[in-house]
Symmetry: C2
Subunit: 174 residues, 2 copies
Amino acid sequence: VLLKEVLFFPTTVTCVEHLFASRRDLPFSCPCSLPHGLETSFTKLLRHLLSAKSSLDLCVFAFSNQDLSHTVLLLQSRGVTVRILTDKDYMLISGSQIGTLRRAGICVRHEMGAVHMHHKFAVVDGRLLITGSLNWTLTAIQSNRENILVTEEPDLVRPFVREFQQLWEANNPA
Amino acid sequence: VLLKEVLFFPTTVTCVEHLFASRRDLPFSCPCSLPHGLETSFTKLLRHLLSAKSSLDLCVFAFSNQDLSHTVLLLQSRGVTVRILTDKDYMLISGSQIGTLRRAGICVRHEMGAVHMHHKFAVVDGRLLITGSLNWTLTAIQSNRENILVTEEPDLVRPFVREFQQLWEANNPA
Ligand SMILES: [Zn+2]
Ligand SMILES: [Zn+2]
């Protein structure tokens, strides 16, 4: 059965550190004051992203969330090929993680044509689509009414894979 | 077979007047200078909305597009029950269609709890889901990189129907 899931935000803020722990750190015990061991829309989103084995293609207007930045860097350290396409104006805003990710060696391109690159989608291993209203910011996750839809349905995944590839090539700065 | 479709924006600007013409106006001939008879992501979106027979539930952060406003008013005139849930800050912005729609008797509520009601989804006849990054503005349709996903898949439609119902009740001003 193909995965089909809808996640709504905002969510309760919980600790997500255990999701980043490596196998040898387990059992993992965290001293922070946030609630532990709760499954939320955000932990589910992180689990889907962390399931990447070979590639993560991310097309997102705003990216300032540190847990999501941590996730991307962890994937890269595991050998996953990460490509990020983002908005030219938002990436310069204070708090944006784009500079940090670029400096860490992640391949980032920004939309050079359209007024705004307003997409908010990710494709994991060319197989799993995550798309919706949610920007990768703290406000989106903790404060706004937002949705994401997660699906493996090929008829829905394929157009997003194609859109990413087209935008990636069209915005090659070289 | 259940409908599954992905539409990308921006689109070529074309005339959409024929979509609003009633049967007795056909064949419809329009004197405007825009291209006629082209199918675009925007005409497809309007067709999906205009297919509503009994209800349109719309949950959208920004609504300023006049063709979409025209669509909503036309549906209302056909006896379709329209409910709109929107963002409290954006609805007051100049160019917002929310005031016009309210004055025309459309039921509108705004999010009173969350920081922003950032959803951009519509459910037609409780059956067809339209969701994505696209706000109902001219910039979104004509200038930005945007996506919408259109599906009848019950596992995806049902959570959005439930979310709309919950937010509608939670934001009853009475
Ligand atoms: Zn903790
Ligand atoms: Zn015309």
